[in-house]
Assembly symmetry: C2
Homo-oligomer: 342 residues x 2
């Protein structure tokens, strides 16, 4: 054991609007003795994701809300330090809902996965393209979007962790890919490094008008991460039988009043489009299939990603808002502890 103190971020109050650090308490606990079947994980990296914000609200979404006074839920990557469980041995690297804390004691139930052992992959990538992010992009696009050669794929939050991967998979599927992002730097990264066909800066351009110009025959596939005006602009430019993958509605996660649905909702009818809600947890059983393909593309140099790794568990609450003001560049990760030399 390297430490015997477990720092834990507890949810103190349900945030109103953007989260405040005062919505959380950091406490120091001791690590309980391991019972039969249990094992101790030292957390190395914590993934910060837009969905974390929804978990703090008092309403059940696809998972129950985090209880007030309990450790904030979060996806993490850690190393097994001690084990009374035959399936998980000391030294194993695992991902799961490890929480906003230094240590997690598991009995192996719930979501607890040993990482696949790919060559030349940094550990943080298992919270990114070889983790939930990769599965989300892969199954959302491939299973729900069903991309076909020559189709037009449009992505909101396109420079984000999921969006940037969706676009690159779309290019591999020979789609025409248009990304929507919030800075010139992000737009340039999409078109120059990721080779998207076009990018729209939603802060300086009319998304509706630009989509009409760039996709005059309409959008075949829209990968929706954002909601609000951007979703409306896309729904206003659908092609017949368009598929909309409803993966996120980031723009309204901090809303303090009821947010209306998209004004262009009737276009779903007239264009005979399909809107499908998508949560990656439904696809866990097929993760091997996705990771195999993602790794093969990655090994060929066809998948790029960016990550912003912020040092220190103490920075978790204040960093989460970066996902909502767009100030992060790539996958947002908190580094909790130094990687062990493996």
């Amino acid at each position: 054991m390297t430490k015997d103190i477990n720092r834990q971020w507890l949810l103190r109050s349900r945030p109103v609007g953007l989260i405040q650090e005062s919505d959380f308490d950091m406490i120091e606990s001791s690590i309980p003795e391991l019972k039969t079947g249990e094992f101790l994980i030292q957390n190395l990296y914590l993934s910060l994701d837009p969905t974390n914000r929804g978990w703090m609200n008092p309403v059940e979404t696809y998972v129950p809300p985090v209880k007030l006074g309990s450790v904030m839920r979060g996806i993490g990557l850690g190393i097994v330090k001690e084990s009374n469980n035959a399936e998980f041995k000391a030294g194993d690297i695992v991902t799961g809902l490890l929480g906003w804390q230094d240590y997690f004691v598991s009995d192996g139930s719930g979501w607890m996965t040993k990482i696949p052992s790919f060559s030349n992959v940094p550990l943080s990538a298992y919270l990114n393209l070889f983790g939930m992010i990769g599965l989300t992009a892969y199954f959302g696009l491939m299973d729900i979007g069903k991309p076909k050669e020559g189709e037009t794929l449009v992505i909101s939050a396109a420079a984000g962790a999921v969006g940037s991967l969706v676009g690159q998979i779309g290019k591999i599927q020979d789609c025409r890919v248009i990304g929507i992002a919030g800075t010139e730097e992000k737009c340039n990264w999409l078109t120059q490094t990721l080779e998207f066909d076009a990018a729209i800066n939603y802060k300086t351009e009319s998304v509706f008008n630009r989509l009409k110009e760039l996709a005059p025959e309409g959008i075949d596939i829209f990968f929706a991460n954002v909601g609000g005006k951007i979703l409306d602009a896309a729904l206003g430019n659908l092609r017949l039988h368009a598929r909309i993958i409803l993966c996120g509605l980031i723009s309204q996660y901090n809303a303090t009043e009821r947010v209306p649905g998209p004004y262009n909702f009737p276009n779903i009818l007239t264009k005979r489009a399909t809107v499908t809600g998508f949560i990656v947890t439904d696809y866990f059983k097929r993760m091997d299939e996705a990771f195999k393909n993602l790794y093969s593309w990655y090994a060929k140099g066809r998948l790029h990603y960016r990550e912003e790794i912020i040092d220190g568990l103490e920075n978790a609450p204040k960093s989460l808002n970066k996902l909502f003001d767009g100030s992060n560049k790539g996958k947002l990760i908190i580094k909790i502890s130094e990687e062990p030399s493996l």
Copy 2:
């Protein structure tokens, strides 16, 4: 030829809100001489449908708007009186976009169908369960809804021509069927004659609360004809992986301001539901399959319907609004001419 005057309702101005008779002009034209390949249809019945209202607006939906000054578009049933076309002979009964008029000259192009010849079926039924209405209910429910035994099916405008048929097909598929309608009389018809499991009167009850009571585990299939608060109530009560057939948004067809989409739109995501826009014209090629099944159920006495037949082409404009104030009982049809003795 019984008459040589063709009364025609022309669209004079684009209605704002509910249509006014003054939005139309009735003119009297002569019937043109038939050219090679053409045939003359005398219209017997005109179908009034909610979608007619959308065709009057200046925006293209799934079909172009009716041009100002041209004959109002409408689905009709008529008899071929004279023919220079080998496929359509005098005496054939046909359906198609015959328009709000006494006579229609066709060259057989576009949508023009000889009615199937079922025994003991009144002609008006070919504008109802053996016409577009039947195809809409059948393919919307069976192909998009994919009903399974024991699932809960909820229908808005359930006492309407499409809705009442959807519910009865749902019962044949062993679903639990809940209908939403606007009068006690309609609700009683749904539960007593059509044997729906329950009915909700949206004018006197909270649809949201009643759905929560009647379907505590959520709705598997929602057949949406209406939009607005009723759509929102259904989206607020979805079961995991619900299917929503977006067939109509009647409540907003007369809107004079932009209507927001459903406030419960995010539930599509959290419940991993699918919303599919549906227009029956996409299924024309498979009409034989639908009519065969519908007739077999009808012949067994399992499909009931109501119709309200209003005499006289002159009453078409003023009757259409009945579909929007809910004062019609069953399929709304204008009788243009006496049926010939066949």
